[in-house]
Amino acid sequence: MAMSEQEILSGLGEIVNEIAGVPADEVTPEKSFVDDLDIDSLSMVEIAVAAQDKFGVEIPDDQLKNLKTVKDVINFIQA
C-alpha cells in the first residue's frame, strides 16, 4: 500500500535532520532543499540513499537534479 504524503514527509524530516541538522519541523513540502534548507549536492545523495533505505524507492543520481523541493521528493517516492 502506498504511503501517505504525511508519512513520507515525516520520514523525510527525520532523514534531513539526521544528515543536515535541519530541525525536522522545518522540512515542509514547499521548501527548496538548496535555497531554503541549505542542503548541498552531496547531502542530497545522502538523503537519497537514506530515503531508499526507508521507503524502498531508488532515487538515481540523474533524477536528483530535478528534485528541487521537498514536495518533488514526496511525489517521486509516491509515483
Binding site: D40, S41, L42, M44, V45, E46, A48, V49
Partner: protein
C-alpha cells in the same frame, strides 16, 4: 622445473613522502574562479593543496619519495630488485616511469612496471609487491604512488580543480617471517567508467561527483570489512584507518561505518588535497613522521577511484 622458496610473509620496511613546495590555498583559487574557502571546505574538506610547477615532473616527485623511503629502509639501491609505480597521470604513455625512476635512484636493472588503478593504485601495487616477495619473484620491492594531476585539470572547472593535487608517496617492501601485509580485497565497477575520466589526450579530468560519492559511501565499507575479516583483524585492533583521501566527507562516512573506535583516521586531504595513487602512502608517511601511529600498529588502507576500482588490505606499519 624449480621454484624459489620465497618468504612466509612480506612487510613494509619504510615509507617516504614528497610534496611540491608550491602551496595553493582556497583563497588563491577564489581569486581566479567562482568559489570560496567556505564552499570548498564544506564540500570536500580541503584547505590547501600542493601543485608542482613546470620544472617538477612526475618522475621528479616519484624519485624524491622513493629516495626517502629507500633511505629510511636502511637498504642500498642495489638491494631493490623490483620497482612498481602506481600512477594515472604519466606525461607520456611510453616509456613507463618506473624504469626511469629506478635508473635515477641508482637501482641497477630491476624489474620495473607501472600500475594504473587510479586512486586505488597504491593498494594494487602493494599487493603485487607483497605477492612477489612471498613467491620469491623479488626480495625487496620499491612501491611508489605518484601523481601530477595538475597537468590534467581544467583550472576554470571548480568541480575538479579545487580537489585534485600533486605529490608522491613510497614504501619499501621486503620479506618477513610473519605476515605484515594482509590479503588484498579488490574489485571494480566498470559500468561506472565514465564517473571519473580523462576522455582524450586534449581534454581534462572530469568527475561525476554525486555518482562517485554515492558509490564510495555505500559500496566500499563491505570491502573494508572483508579485508579485516580475511586478515583476522577486528576494527578494535586497528591503530589507524587510512582510506584514499578523496573527499573529507567520504573519509568521515567510511570511518563512521567502520567503527574502529581506537583508530586514528587519516585526514591528510585537508592540507594535501586529493593526490590519487599518492594519497595513502603520503598520508601514512606524514602520520608516521608525526608519531600518530606506533611501530607495529595495524592499519587498514582502502584505495578507490576511477575505473571504478577499489582495493583494501591491513598492514603493520614499520
Amino acid at each position: 622445473m624449480m621454484l624459489p622458496s620465497g618468504s612466509a610473509g612480506a612487510r613494509i620496511l619504510s615509507f617516504g613522502g614528497h610534496q611540491p613546495s608550491n602551496v595553493v590555498t582556497n583563497e588563491d583559487l577564489a581569486e581566479k574562479i567562482d568559489t570560496t574557502d567556505e564552499w570548498i571546505q564544506s564540500r570536500v574538506g580541503i584547505a590547501e593543496r600542493r601543485v608542482a610547477g613546470p620544472e617538477e615532473s612526475l618522475q621528479d616527485m616519484a624519485t624524491a619519495a622513493g629516495g626517502k623511503a629507500l633511505a629510511a629502509s636502511g637498504l642500498e639501491a642495489g638491494d631493490i630488485d623490483l620497482v612498481v609505480v602506481a600512477t594515472c597521470t604519466p606525461e607520456t604513455p611510453i616509456p613507463n616511469i618506473s624504469a626511469t625512476v629506478a635508473d635515477r635512484m641508482g637501482i641497477a636493472s630491476p624489474g620495473a612496471f607501472d600500475v594504473n588503478a587510479a586512486c586505488a593504485g597504491f593498494c594494487y601495487a602493494l599487493s603485487v609487491a607483497a605477492d612477489a616477495v612471498r613467491a620469491g619473484s623479488a626480495r625487496h620491492v620499491l612501491v611508489i604512488g605518484a601523481e601530477k594531476l595538475s597537468q590534467w585539470l581544467d583550472w576554470t572547472d571548480r568541480t575538479t580543480c579545487v580537489i585534485f593535487a600533486d605529490g608522491a608517496g613510497a614504501a619499501v617492501v621486503g620479506p618477513s617471517e610473519t605476515p605484515a601485509i594482509g590479503p588484498v580485497v579488490w574489485g571494480s565497477a566498470g559500468d561506472k567508467h565514465e564517473a571519473i575520466s580523462i576522455a582524450s589526450r586534449d581534454t581534462y579530468l572530469t568527475q561525476q561527483g554525486q555518482t562517485v560519492f554515492r558509490w564510495a559511501t555505500t559500496q566500499l565499507n563491505a570491502a573494508a570489512n572483508d579485508a579485516l575479516d580475511r586478515a583476522g583483524v577486528s576494527p578494535q585492533d586497528l591503530a589507524a584507518f587510512v582510506p584514499h583521501q578523496a573527499n573529507l566527507r567520504i573519509v568521515e562516512s567510511l570511518a563512521r561505518k567502520l567503527g574502529a573506535t581506537d583508530a586514528v583516521v587519516a585526514r591528510d586531504i585537508v592540507t594535501a588535497g586529493n593526490t590519487s595513487a599518492a594519497s595513502i602512502p603520503l598520508a601514512l608517511s606524514r602520520m608516521l613522521e608525526r608519531g600518530e601511529i606506533a611501530s607495529g600498529g595495524k592499519v587498514l588502507i582502502l584505495g578507490f577511484g576511477a575505473g571504478l576500482t577499489y582495493a583494501a588490505q591491513v598492514i603493520e606499519v614499520p
